[in-house]
């Protein structure tokens, strides 16, 4: 499916998308969980979905999987409109949504066998092998015979991942897959995502670990208060964020006036100032400052990282409103 089939002439290049939402809105009673979400998930991409707690990531994912009916808006999943096309699209989709869900009295293996029995793409004679492969892949083969009741948080998470990977998928949706995993587990998730990406699968992963997203994702979508505030290729977004120079100096006032006369924008920050490098370069800035007699202890080139971008997109408004930091992520400059 391409964007151009039904749309009139557009300037956008026609990308093949694995999933797309248009004007998605979900109300729970009087709370609006998600509003005007236009998400585009290009085929083969690894899209990192970011957002503070309660920003609507899980709700969006649930709607994308047909678990929740949107109040408004359209969803297209693997070229099929939801909810009507769910039965054709969903067999190719593996998902781990809001934590793993399994029966405590069954072992990990038995739980997976039960999941496998309901997978349309899995033939009966292949079930056993598929289950063993999935267990192996998430590193649970040793504990597979134990009851799910006794699993640790990370083991439960791994079993959930195994269920999502029972069948080769076109799209894998992982809602906070690293939740509760140890560092090795986090690395394994990264590896699994990379493998899926290499195999041509599309991956949608929501996460609070910005460094993980920066390391694994090709695309990013940032949600805030139920709407998408930024989305696109990771590199493009970061470039658009620009870069800056952090200068540590006691002579902030002198430095600022010198920069102002050189038409370079900067602002006080911490023990010094921060200078935007848009339309100028680091050597030029330092030369300007030195010529003005500013004492420079330290100058650090500061490229916009995902954390900073994220903070800028989601925190500025909160700070203005004096909202508590509980609602936001611990982002900010490194």
């Amino acid at each position: 499916m391409t964007t151009s089939t039904s749309a009139p002439v557009t300037t956008e290049k026609a990308t093949v998308v694995a999933a797309r939402t248009k004007g998605l809105r979900k109300e729970y009673g009087s709370t609006v969980a998600v509003d005007r979400v236009d998400l585009e998930l290009p085929e083969g991409a690894v899209l990192g979905m970011l957002g503070p707690n309660g920003s609507g990531k899980t709700t969006t994912i649930r709607m994308l999987l047909g678990l929740v009916r949107p109040t408004q808006g359209e969803i297209e999943l693997l070229g099929k409109p939801l909810p009507d096309g769910a039965e054709q699209a969903l067999p190719h989709v593996g998902a781990l949504v809001e934590g793993p869900g399994f029966h405590p009295f069954l072992s990990g293996r038995e739980n997976l066998i039960r999941c496998a029995a309901f997978e349309p793409l899995l033939e009966k004679r292949n079930i056993k092998q598929a289950v063993e492969d999935a267990l192996e892949r998430v590193g649970l083969a040793q504990a597979a015979h134990r009851r799910y009741r006794g699993y640790s948080l990370g083991m439960k998470q791994r079993l959930g991942l195994a269920a999502a990977l029972l069948v080769p998928r076109k799209l894998v949706v992982l809602d906070e897959p690293t939740n509760g995993l140890d560092p090795a587990g986090t690395r394994e998730i990264r590896k699994i995502i990379a493998e899926l990406h290499a195999a041509g699968s599309t991956v949608l992963v929501s996460s609070h670990l910005l460094s993980e997203v920066e390391a694994t994702c090709t695309h990013v979508a940032v949600l805030h208060r139920g709407t998408v505030v930024a989305q696109g290729e990771l590199t493009e977004l970061l470039q658009a964020g620009g870069s800056a120079l952090q200068v540590i100096t006691p002579d902030v006032e002198i430095a600022l006036s010198a920069l102002r006369s050189a038409k370079i924008s900067g602002r006080p920050l911490g023990d010094g100032l921060r200078v935007e490098l848009a339309g100028t370069s680091a050597p030029q800035v330092i030369e300007t400052l030195v010529k003005a007699g500013v004492g420079i202890y330290e100058a650090t080139r500061w490229k916009t990282g995902l954390e900073e971008l994220f903070a800028r997109l989601t925190e500025a408004e909160e700070a203005e409103r004096g909202m508590s930091a509980v609602d936001t992520l611990d982002g900010g400059p490194r």
């Binding site: 678990l67 809001e98 869900g101 399994f102 069954l106 038995e110 066998i113 039960r114 309901f118």
Partner: protein, 267 residues
């Protein structure tokens, strides 16, 4: 595909600890009844009606057991299965997994109804079989004495028992279907059990008031006593038919409501 899903469902139900405990409890009923009648001894005044012909008539034990259990025990078991089927799966987060597999919501309801039917039939048959064994062991038998005073051959008696198994199972499934409708609305299995059992008990209480005559034809519990006509010779079909028809209405309404709720449910 659907047979595989049915199989998986029944296996899953059978593996559940509370199913096993429940079945064990059900099996105790005919054993206790047989033992109780046996210790009461010959010539004692047994309970009236069906109980009166139990002495020396072991083949009646399965019927008597099921007839008694239909009032509370079997609805309870049906409500537990219905509660675990949807509310329990929602509570464990496994319902999400099934729905994104995907299993269509209507299909899922049929899988659940099948599981409920298969397990009900299994439980009722198990009780009957244990009833036959315990009854003949404790009380002995020569054929089956009916409420009409005639005696049926063992073969005919077994046929009557089979018919009764089917009738009781159908009542149980109908109650379970209504419980499934409740189960589709909540994440708490206990709510489903409590609602179902309360309803059954309230219906039985309402059935006691003759001032509420007009209401009685609509209460599923009103149909229970009539099923005992299986033990008459020849079988008068009127009441049995009415009871079954009433249960059928409950089954249809329950399934319909469950489907409506499930299709629009957010999970």
């Amino acid at each position: 595909m659907i047979t595989r899903q049915f199989g998986s469902e029944v296996r899953w139900m059978l593996r559940r600890p509370r199913t096993i405990i429940g079945l064990f409890g059900l099996v105790l009923v005919p054993i206790i009844i047989s033992f109780g009648i046996w210790t009461a001894g010959e010539g004692s005044d047994g309970p009236p009606g069906l109980g009166a012909i139990l002495q020396g008539n072991g083949m009646v034990v399965p019927i008597f057991t099921l007839f008694l259990s239909l009032n509370l025990l079997l609805p309870l078991v049906a409500s537990i299965w219905a509660a675990d089927g949807l509310a329990g799966e929602a509570q464990h987060g496994t319902l999400r997994g099934l729905l994104v597999a995907p299993v269509s919501r209507v299909r899922l309801l049929f899988v659940k109804l099948f599981g409920l039917t298969a397990m009900s039939l299994f439980a009722v048959t198990l009780m009957a079989v244990v009833g036959i064994i315990a009854g003949t062991a404790f009380l002995g038998t020569n054929g089956m004495m009916t409420l009409s005073g005639t005696t049926l051959t063992t073969g005919e008696g077994l046929l009557r028992i089979a018919l009764f198994i089917i009738l009781v199972t159908f009542q149980m499934v109908s109650i379970g279907a209504v419980a499934l409708a409740v189960s589709a609305t909540t994440e708490h299995p206990l709510v489903v059990q409590a609602a179902t059992m309360t309803t059954i008990i309230v219906f039985q209480v309402l059935g006691q008031f003759s001032s509420l005559d007009w209401l009685h034809p609509f209460l599923i519990t009103t149909g229970f006593p009539g099923l005992i006509d299986v033990m008459r010779d020849p079988i008068p079909t009127g009441q049995i038919w009415d009871s079954t028809l009433l249960a059928g209405c409950y089954l249809l309404i329950g399934t319909g409501l469950a489907a409506m709720r499930l299709i629009t449910k957010d999970s």
